[in-house]
């Protein structure tokens, strides 16, 4: 079974401003994927855009063999993806990368999601729910209408704490802002996070201060997506030694205290 395949588009739906939910028929990925992994997507058959685009695995349905993606249109590649129609064939590589480290069943954990960073965390919370973990999601967005996945998290019986930049829903401010008002996350086994770098950097330092472990899902521009080209280097500090790790193959998930936040 190869890690490269053609997948049929089952549906594409707008869910928020410039944000789309897509379902693909990809049974091998659905079967093998773990939360935090991604697929490397060929958005066009032409040479413009040339390269694949990394997109997190948002959800899978193993019985149905379905892979779901949630993505924001930011440029040519995601624009083409958003325009695809039911029945179109999209070439995928995956599942790629190392996912989140799962806690012991029944643990209490925190999840911090900013903007489109919510995408991979739905799959994570799904698995955490299966493991009967007690999950608090700190969910941030620009405003109410940009908020993503709140309903999904609630359905999975996570406690959801919302923060919006403009205060149009929940706490007015950022995710680290709302976390600093809540002490809950300090008593969890681990905090998982995905979102803008400044958000993750701030949370990472709060975690470090409180001496709580955390894992962050990072982004870097990617060439190969499988560890061969070294495009996606990120600085990771381990026992005081800083080395370049590959987001695609060594990550995208790294211990938050090891990430050299720049």
């Amino acid at each position: 079974m190869s890690k490269i395949m053609d997948a049929k588009v089952l549906g594409v739906y707008p869910v928020a401003p410039a944000t789309y939910y897509m379902e693909l028929e990809a049974p091998d990925i659905a079967r093998l994927a773990v939360p935090g992994q991604f697929v490397h997507v060929r958005c066009s058959d032409s040479q413009d855009p040339l390269l694949r685009r990394p997109i997190s695995i948002h959800m899978v349905s193993r019985p149905k063999g379905v892979l779901a993606l949630l993505f924001r249109v930011v440029g040519k590649g995601t624009e083409l993806l958003a325009q695809s129609k039911v029945g179109d064939i999209i070439n995928l590589m995956g599942p790629l990368g190392k996912g989140f480290t799962m806690p012991l069943p029944g643990s209490r954990v925190a999840v911090a999601a900013g903007g489109i960073g919510a995408a991979p965390l739905v799959f994570l919370v799904q698995e955490l729910a299966h493991m009967k973990c007690q999950v608090t999601v700190y969910l941030g967005a620009k405003d109410k209408k940009s908020l993503l996945c709140d309903g999904q998290f609630e359905q999975m019986e996570a406690e959801v704490v919302i923060a919006t930049d403009d205060g149009s829903l929940g706490y007015k401010g950022t995710v680290p802002g709302v976390m600093s008002k809540h002490a809950d996350w300090k008593r969890t086994a681990i905090t998982y996070m995905c979102g803008p770098k400044p958000m993750m950097r701030d949370i990472a330092s709060m975690l470090a201060e409180a001496d709580v472990p955390g894992e962050a899902s990072l982004e870097e521009h990617m060439g190969c997506g499988i560890g061969a080209c070294l495009s996606c280097a990120t600085k990771i500090s381990h026992h005081g030694e800083v080395t370049n790790k590959r987001v695609c193959a060594d990550g995208p998930v790294f211990p938050s205290w090891q990430v050299v936040w720049e």
Partner: protein
């Protein structure tokens, strides 16, 4: 009858003319889940230096129209690690493994060449005098006929391995440099390395790449690469490995007709991990369709038409 695909690159016998471009295929194992590497004529592995290197700061990659810029900067675990960790793997492959080497000084090239001599599993060296992404040990050597020849001579004097010298397209006269390198004893030439380029982020008003400039590769550069092979073929007698923007067998055939005895697939691996195998198959199909029994008949044929 199946046509002969075997070629000889300066003493390295390849079962078919298709190899990988250094830096785009890791050390091999990365691509094993996607294809049977032993079906390739050879693999050229990531640029290796005497000491380990951390490479350049990120961002190291930017997409451009039909191309990409990279400024990896020769991040690699160093020659000792390569010998210890990868050479047993190389020795187990039936394809030929060519190690791409770089140095800060002529002496470093020589030392590295000596060190890799006789290591099991290594069939030859590709001498990178054309990397645009490092201050020393890179393009500076390849930009000038005298220093290019000097590096070549130093390598050839330190190893029994065949040496393929890799040329830069960022020069006024690539044929002149090719002649100098041939004169200094190179067994073969490979070309082209990346074109020096850059992109600017208009929102942040600064270069996209952390290292400011990078190397342009991919389909965009193909016309420059084919032209370079054409010119160098007229200038030297040693075999050429052509590369730059090869995605399909049709692309590869352009290089062969221009004068390349073998071809390397680089950036296309990122788009289609099976690109190399598809190129091998497509070349074979073309030969059969055209009734050509030996690939070597095609090498440089466009000069004779």
């Amino acid at each position: 009858m199946r046509p002969n695909l075997q070629v000889n690159i300066g003493g390295i016998i390849m079962k078919n003319p298709v190899t990988t471009a250094s830096g785009t295929f890791g050390f091999g194992p990365e691509y094993s889940p996607y294809l049977d590497i032993n079906k390739l004529g050879a693999i050229v592995v990531k640029g290796t230096t005497l000491e380990p290197r951390e490479g350049n700061i990120t961002p190291r990659m930017a997409e451009t129209p039909a191309g990409m810029l990279n400024s990896i900067g020769l991040q690699n675990p160093g020659a000792d690690y390569l010998i210890e960790k990868y050479s047993p793997y190389f020795a187990g492959l039936t394809t030929k493994v060519i190690v791409n080497i770089s140095g800060n000084t002529v002496e470093e090239y020589a030392k590295l060449a000596a060190k890799l001599d006789g290591v099991p599993g290594i069939a030859g060296l590709e001498v990178n005098i054309s990397c645009p992404n490092v201050k020393m040990g890179g393009m500076a050597f390849g930009a000038d006929a005298t220093s290019a020849a000097e590096v070549t001579r130093a390598v050839k004097g330190s190893t029994n391995l065949p040496a393929i010298v890799k040329l830069s397209p960022n020069v006024t006269d690539i044929a002149g440099i090719a002649r100098a390198v041939e004169g200094a004893g190179a067994d073969a030439l490979s070309l082209i390395n990346t074109l020096l380029g850059m992109s600017i982020d208009i929102h942040r008003r600064k270069p996209v790449l952390g290292n400011i400039m990078g190397g342009l590769s991919g389909p965009a550069v193909k016309p420059v690469a084919v032209r370079s092979v054409w010119q160098v073929y007229q200038a030297v007698k040693i075999p050429l490995v052509g590369m730059g923007g090869i995605v399909t067998a049709q692309d590869a055939l352009e290089f062969i007709l221009a004068g390349a005895t073998a071809v390397a697939v680089g950036t296309a691996n990122f788009i289609n991990p099976l690109a190399t195998l598809e190129v091998v198959q497509g070349i074979e199909d073309y030969l059969i369709k055209q009734g050509i029994s030996d690939i070597t008949e095609l090498v440089g044929a466009a000069h004779r038409s």
